[in-house]
């Protein structure tokens, strides 16, 4: 369980590619059902893949896992997956948006697109995570997260199924934490549980102003 009031962050974004299904199972499986932040995820998939990953992960996770809907408001304790063949973005009012603009880093959905828009929306209130994967998508986005005051977490390349994406991110960003996959959910729990006293308030308060 996450204990205490959530005082620190507004949202978590995560990017993952090759080896991603297992990594997401571990990450989301480690979060309690009352995890106080929304988790927004880009998992690189083939454009024509069926969107059943959310169902698959929902079975093993205690937070609710769903495929993102257009215009949807972010809720705490929920993980949102980008649908295949669409970029997923966060608007400044805390709603989700899609685009079918050209692939970025050969990817649609692209991690950079999600991270850059979320960094715009949440600034220092954002936690960005790069997990296992091939290529370099997410490195630029994670740098923007950091530049706007957010926190950067990268899976330890030695612990990753495929290490090039985390390696690329480590080269691009001064990471706040480089951790084995199993250690990331407990850290999120501690961060969201109120370790940072002066940060932003919970998402609901963000919204209500």
């Amino acid at each position: 369980m996450c204990s205490g009031n959530s005082e620190g962050y507004c949202a978590v974004v995560a990017g993952v590619s090759m080896g991603g299904v297992e990594a997401l199972r571990v990450l989301l499986g480690g979060l309690p059902p009352d995890f106080p932040l929304p988790v927004i995820i880009v998992h690189h998939t083939r454009p024509d893949s069926a969107s059943d990953l959310a169902h698959l992960l929902n079975a093993s996770a205690t937070v609710a896992v769903k495929e993102a809907d257009e215009g949807e408001r972010l809720e705490s304790g929920t993980a949102y997956l980008a649908p295949p063949n669409y970029h997923l973005l966060v608007e400044r009012d805390g709603t989700l948006a899609f685009s079918v603009d050209t692939p970025v880093n050969y990817a649609r959905p692209s991690i950079d697109v999600l991270f850059e828009s979320a960094a715009d929306a949440f600034g220092p209130g954002l936690i960005g995570i790069i997990l296992t994967g091939a290529g370099s998508d997410g490195s630029k986005g994670l740098k923007v997260v950091k530049d706007k005051g957010g926190l950067a977490i990268i899976q330890d390349p030695l612990d990753a199924n495929t290490d090039s994406m985390p390696r690329s991110a480590i080269a691009a960003v001064t990471a706040d934490h480089v951790l084995a996959l199993a250690e990331i959910a407990p850290l999120l729990c501690a961060l969201a549980g109120g370790d940072r006293r002066t940060g932003c308030r919970r998402l609901e308060e963000h919204r209500n102003g």
Partner: protein, 279 residues
């Protein structure tokens, strides 16, 4: 105000001023476009121009029509493909065409037609289902440059390979190469597909509807608009559709929460093919 609201969105304000200026000088209204992806496109355009900031761009764009044309192209280009979402075109062929056949003549509007990919995909489906000579397809877009490309009907062979896969998955009945002539690295759409198609400039944020249509495709366009503009566009389309007409949206777009939703039923579940009810 919660402290995770960003202190002040100066760049957002600068973009807002630029969009206000564009509206007042050129009449194009992007103020109701969804902000996150618009900002991304504007930032890409800005980088290409070499101008340092949005205020600098504003000072130039409002006086320089050519620079504005570049901006317009940069932020309105829609990415499309023939038979994008093959399951959608398969459903059209298998479940909608039989209804279209009951009309003596069929008029179809493809709103936001980009370089004509969906227009020609539709023409292929209609011809293969025996409707040749009984339809006219109107492709409209705000971007004049893509309309010229649509009229030319020229696509790179690399893209044509991708189109071919889509065509096959969508239940295509012939060899896709029947529909184009290859020259060097390009393919030109065959004459018979161009016969009954018309491309024209149309601005969904400002213009009126284009007359009675039996079917309207407006796919992956509403995702770029804020709710008020979504309502405007859907109202415009609704005004063009008689009872029994078809409205097709993108695979991740729905009518839920929209004003016109009550008049439509999703005819093919999950494929975003809606039919206006007979009252």
């Amino acid at each position: 105000m919660g402290s995770c609201m960003r202190t002040q969105d100066i760049e957002g304000i600068e973009i807002g001023l630029l969009l206000d200026g564009i509206f007042r000088v050129y009449g194009y209204d992007f103020r109701e476009y969804a902000e996150a992806s618009l900002k991304r496109r504007l930032a890409q355009w800005l980088q290409k121009t070499g101008l340092g900031s949005f205020p600098e761009a504003q000072a130039r764009v409002l006086h320089d029509r050519e620079l504005f044309s570049g901006l317009l192209e940069g932020i309105t280009v829609n990415v499309s493909a023939m038979f994008r979402d093959p399951q959608f075109f398969k459903a059209l062929r298998e479940e909608v065409v039989l209804h279209l056949k009951t009309y003596p003549f069929i008029k179809i509007w493809v709103a936001g037609c980009s370089a004509g990919e969906e227009v020609y995909s539709l023409a292929i489906v209609l011809c293969e289902e025996g409707l040749q000579g009984r339809y006219r397809i109107y492709g409209t877009d705000i971007n004049e440059k893509v309309l010229r490309q649509a009229e030319e009907g020229i696509y790179s062979l690399e893209r044509v390979q991708q189109f071919t896969q889509g065509y096959q998955k969508a239940g295509g009945k012939r060899d896709f190469s029947d529909y184009y002539t290859a020259r060097y690295d390009y393919a030109i759409v065959s004459e018979k597909l161009r016969d009954n198609v018309v491309f024209a400039s149309h601005n969904l944020t400002a213009d009126a509807g284009i007359g009675e249509m039996q079917m309207v495709l407006c796919r992956n366009l509403l995702i770029y608009f804020k709710p008020a503009l979504k309502e405007r566009v859907l109202g415009l389309i609704d005004g063009c559709l008689p009872n029994g007409g078809f409205l097709c949206l993108g695979m991740k777009e729905t009518l839920s929460d929209r004003v016109i939703a009550g008049r439509y039923t999703e005819m093919v579940r999950g494929k975003r093919i809606y039919r206006k009810q007979y009252v």
